[in-house]
Every structure is written in C-alpha cells, then in structure tokens.
C-alpha cells in the first residue's frame, strides 16, 4: 500500500499558542485512520492544514503527492470533506445544494474522474432514500441531523479517493450512526482512504485500521487497532510487597490499601505467569487492553 496522506513535523502556531506541534503521520491508501483527542488537542487544526485552509508555521503536508498549502486545489480535487461545524446554504433546497457542489466539481467529470450526470442523480436519489431525506425541502427547514445527512450525501457523491470527516457522527441518531459505520466499511472496501476525527471511541475502534491520539497538539500514540486486541493487562495482588526487579508498568492502589501490580503484555503470557508462579499471589485478573484504556492512559479521562 502506498502512502496517500503524509505530514512531516507539521506545526501550526498562533503567536505563542501552538495548536499543532510537529505532527508526523502517514496514512496508506485504502486505510481508515481515526484521529482522537479532546477539544483543543489539534485534530481539527490538522484537518484544516491538510485541506489548505491554514498555512503551516513549519513542516509540510502532502495528499496524493500534492502540497496541501501550495497546491490545495489539487488536494481538494481528491478529497471530500465533511466539516465538524456544519453550516450550509440555508436559502437553497437540498437538491439545489447538491447540484451546486456537483457543479463545482464538474471539472472532475470532464477529466473522467467522476460519474456521469445520470449516474450521479441516481446515486443521490438512492442515498437520500437510504437516509430518509427529502431533498425538495429548503435547508433552513431541516433539523441539524437532517442537515448532517445532507452534508454526508454531498461527501459520498463527490467520488473522491479520500474522505476527511471531522466528527461525522456528531448529530446522527444511533440507527443512522450504525448505517454510517456500514458505509465507512463499504468505502474502505471500494479502496477509498478515510481520515476521521471523533469523540466516540467505540466507533473508532469498530471501523478504523489505525488510530492516532493527539494530546496538546502532539501525536501521543499511533496504534493499529487490530494490535490492540493483542494487548492484555495482567493485574495481580500479592501477599507481600514486591521487592524483586520486574517489568512493572503501573501500580494501582487497591480499595483495602494493599496494592495491585499491573503489567501490559503483548503476545505470550507464559514468561510473566512463570515468574508470578514463584510469588505469593492472592488474586490475578486478566483484562483486554482496549482503545479506551489507552486513551485514558494518555488523557487521564473520558474523551
């Protein structure tokens, strides 16, 4: 798989405030990568730099080989973007809105990159039916969830190889959220690359191939989601304090005051269990290490 999105030491500062600090990230073609982090961690800044809305203070970003600032039109020709803060043209109907965006991308059809007009219309109708959206209604009369669906349809019909979605499920109801996750998987199967930011760890874990966790503008962790299943946490309570040197990761205080010792283990547990067999173990617990625990380790709270 070739790299389609690449940032190198990407930094954006506003005076003394560093919004994004040296982000180096590679996204491969056909991959879904989730961007995680609390508000102000730099997720949206990273996305806005990729789309050429912001000029990097230092470092650079490339999408499909095009420089995100200097060649941003070429970048956006290949990217469909769903903003987190959704503002649409309230005076248009859903159909007019989609027609307008399609007309702005019409040059892609001329270059044979997009679909024909009839195919596009059929696709729009199909998606509107799937999302139960009336395209004849003026946008100002739609609820925020409906507006979100309309924006999603505009992204889906753009026929670009890359999708960048900023908190795409924010205002969707649970049923639509499920539907959306199914669509994400379908797009990946079709070879599209997706970068999306979210606050919902479960959906990131459910659809992403990799997850990048940002903290205060820095990349704090970049994990393959499938690899998370290989990690387990072993928690042990001993009858006496541990004095032997061992690979203790963290000590979690127990309710009665005696400590639990815990280890994060990848792969075989045998070496650790063999070592523990020689100690006075009172209790032993095995837990899978999920994304939430990694997130909590980095941010110390819920997303």
């Amino acid at each position: 798989m070739s790299v389609i999105i690449e940032t190198k030491s990407l930094t954006k500062s506003y005076g003394s405030v560093v919004a994004l600090d040296g982000l180096s990230l590679q996204v491969n073609e056909g991959e879904i990568v989730g961007l995680l982090g609390p508000n102000g961690s730099g997720k949206t800044t990273a996305i806005r730099l990729l789309l050429g809305f912001l000029r990097p203070t230092s470092g650079h970003a490339h999408v499909a080989g095009w420089d995100c600032w200097r060649q941003s039109v070429e970048v956006r020709r290949r990217v469909a973007y769903l903003p987190g803060e959704l503002r649409l043209y309230e005076n248009l109907t859903g159909r007019q809105f989609l027609d307008f965006l399609a007309a702005l991308r019409a040059c892609q059809q001329r270059h044979g990159e997009g679909m024909s007009s009839s195919e596009w219309t059929g696709n729009v109708e199909q998606l509107a039916a799937r999302f139960a959206l009336d395209l004849q209604r003026p946008i100002r009369t739609l609820s925020s969830g409906m507006k979100h669906k309309l924006a999603l349809i505009s992204v889906l019909t753009a026929q670009t190889p890359i999708l960048i979605l900023d908190e795409p499920t924010n205002t969707l109801d649970p049923a639509m959220r499920e539907e959306f996750l199914v669509l994400l998987r379908q797009w990946r199967s079709a070879g599209r690359t997706i970068l999306f930011s979210s606050h919902v760890l479960s959906e990131v874990e459910a659809v992403c191939d990799r997850v990048a966790i940002l903290k205060q503008g820095r990349l704090a962790a970049l994990e393959r989601v499938s690899a998370l299943a290989e990690y387990r946490r072993v928690r042990v309570r001993l009858a006496r304090p541990l004095t032997e040197p061992c690979p203790v990761v963290s000590v979690v205080p127990e309710e009665d005051g005696r400590p639990y010792y815990s280890w994060r283990v990848r792969g075989s547990l045998q070496p650790l269990l063999r070592w523990l067999a020689e100690l006075p173990v009172e209790d032993l617990r095995l837990e899978p290490v999920g994304l939430e625990q990694i997130y909590r380790r980095i941010h110390g709270g819920s997303p």
């Binding site: 956006r76 990217v79 973007y81 803060e85």
Partner: protein
C-alpha cells in the same frame, strides 16, 4: 466551470437585492423627473412672478440668490451641484437626481454589502469552509464576485437611466440631452464598483461582515464629508481628490457631455469613471492576493 457555477449561485443569492436596488434607483430617478417638472412648471414660475410683483431687478435677484446660497443654503447648494444648477433650467435640475446623496448612498450601500458579504460574510456564516472544501481556488472565488459585479451593476444603472428616460417622456421635460446621461450612468456604475473593490480588500482581511461593512461605511462617510466641505472650506479642498466622491461627477458629465469634464476649481482634468474603475479593479486584485495568502478561521 467552477467559476460559472459560483457566479450562478451568487446571482441566485442576490436576485432579490438586485431587483430591489434597481427598483429603488429607477423609481427615484422617475420621482426626480416629477420633482424637476414641478420646479420647472409650478415653483419657479411662482417665484419669478413674486419677484416681478416685488419689482426686483435682475441684479437684486442675483444678490438675493448669492446671500441665500452663501448663507443658510450653502451645504445643500454644494450637495446638489453648486453653481451648475439653475432652477429655471430643467436640464440642470434633472441632473440633481444623479448626484443626490440618496442615490450615492444606495450605490455605496450596494458596493459595501456586496464586498462585505463576498469573503467576510461567507466566513462569518461558516459557509466559506464548505466552499473551499471544493476544488476551487480562493482567487476564483474573488473573480466570481468580480464577474457578478460586472453583470449586476449595469442592471442598476440601466434602471437609473430607465427611470430618467421614462420621466423625461412622461413629464415632457424640455432641453434634455440624453447622451450625457449615459456617461453619468457609467460614472455611477464605477462608483459602486470602486466601493465594492475597496470593501473587498477589508473583507479579505476580516471575518465579520458587519465589522467590515460598518468600518467601510464610516470611511465612506468621512470621504463624503471631506469632499462636501472641501467645496466650502479652502483648507480641505486639496484633499478632495483623495476621496472617491471627488470622482463622482455625473452632473459635469451630463452638462458638459464629455468623459473628461473640467472640474470647477481644479486646473487639471481627469476621466472620473476611469479612475473609479481603476480603484475598483485594484481592490479586487489586491483582495484576491490577500485572500489567497491568509488563513481561513474556523466558524465561530
């Protein structure tokens, strides 16, 4: 292709304001034709009759006019065209309809509203992000607005001309040479164009349409006052050419029937529509470059 899609969208958004502004300007010129007729056929015969009854000599009438103009009416006199206007001549009174502050206000308001909405307005309402997520360059966005101005401003001045022509025909005003009005209409068009171009520079720098519009209207008011009081106070006169309104000379275009009118109290001549067109075009080019280089802030 993208450019035309955007032009169509902007025209669609502005279809009612265009209609309204054209209606106001056209109706105003028609109204002014009616006012001219009333002055010419009713008011001035009455005044002349009163002067005759009072047995005033032409010298005494002139002296009275001078006292009146230099006294309580000096600002109104300067506002409406100064010595160019002769109330006994409908051809000169009709020209007031093009220089009247109301017309200048509507033209400026149009330019400010268009310029402020084009960039700062889109950022303000959060739709710039959506627009720039499409494969369209920032310069294309500015040039789309430039095309829209070139398409809509002729509609506005055509409405003004239409109002005048209709009024002259309806009220049978004599001695009207209409060719000069075409140049005056071009001058009106370029005033709105220049205001729009200047506003766009600030729009390209800002993120709030109301701040841009408010600041620009304040700046225009200052320019208007400098140009007005520059006609009354010699100390301000040298600054008049630094204002946009100095180059709005529809009366001179109409009465002298030329693109290069002689401006009273200034030894040099200029082509006011050309200057304003240059200001507007420079504004658009500068705005395109500023907008091309700036960061797009996230919606508030």
């Amino acid at each position: 292709m993208s450019l035309w899609a955007l032009v169509r969208k902007v025209l669609y958004d502005w279809r009612w304001p265009i209609f309204l502004a054209a209606l106001i300007l056209g109706a105003y010129e028609l109204l002014w034709s009616k006012i001219t007729e009333r002055i010419y056929r009713q008011f001035m015969p009455l005044v002349n009759e009163l002067f005759a009854l009072a047995q005033l000599t032409p010298w005494a009438i002139k002296a009275f006019e001078k006292r009146f103009i230099e006294g309580p009416a000096q600002i109104v006199h300067a506002l409406l065209g100064g010595d160019l206007v002769n109330l006994n001549d409908p051809a000169t009174v009709l020209t007031i309809g093009y220089v009247h502050p109301f017309v200048q206000f509507v033209l400026c308001l149009w330019g400010v509203a268009r310029g402020a909405a084009a960039i700062a307005g889109e950022i303000d309402r959060g739709t710039m992000e959506l627009l720039l997520a499409q494969p369209i360059s920032r310069r294309q966005i500015v040039y789309a607005h430039l095309v829209v101005e070139l398409l809509t401003l002729p509609i506005l001045v055509a409405a003004m001309l239409g109002g005048t022509v209709l009024g002259v025909w309806m009220f049978a005003l004599p001695n009207i040479v209409t060719s000069g009005y075409l140049i005056a209409a071009c001058n009106a068009l370029t005033l709105a164009w220049a205001v729009s171009g200047l506003t766009l520079i600030f729009s390209a720098l800002g993120r709030s349409r109301w701040k841009v519009a408010g600041g620009m209207l304040l700046g225009l008011l200052v320019m208007f006052l400098i140009n007005l009081f520059g006609q009354l106070w010699p100390v301000l006169e040298p600054y008049r050419p630094a204002t946009l309104f100095f180059y709005y000379q529809p009366q001179l275009h109409i009465l002298q029937n030329t693109w290069w009118p002689a401006i009273p109290n200034f030894s040099w001549t200029t082509c006011p529509p050309l200057v304003l067109a240059g200001v507007g075009l420079s504004g658009y080019i500068l705005a395109a470059e500023i907008f091309h280089r700036r960061d797009i802030p996230a919606p508030l």
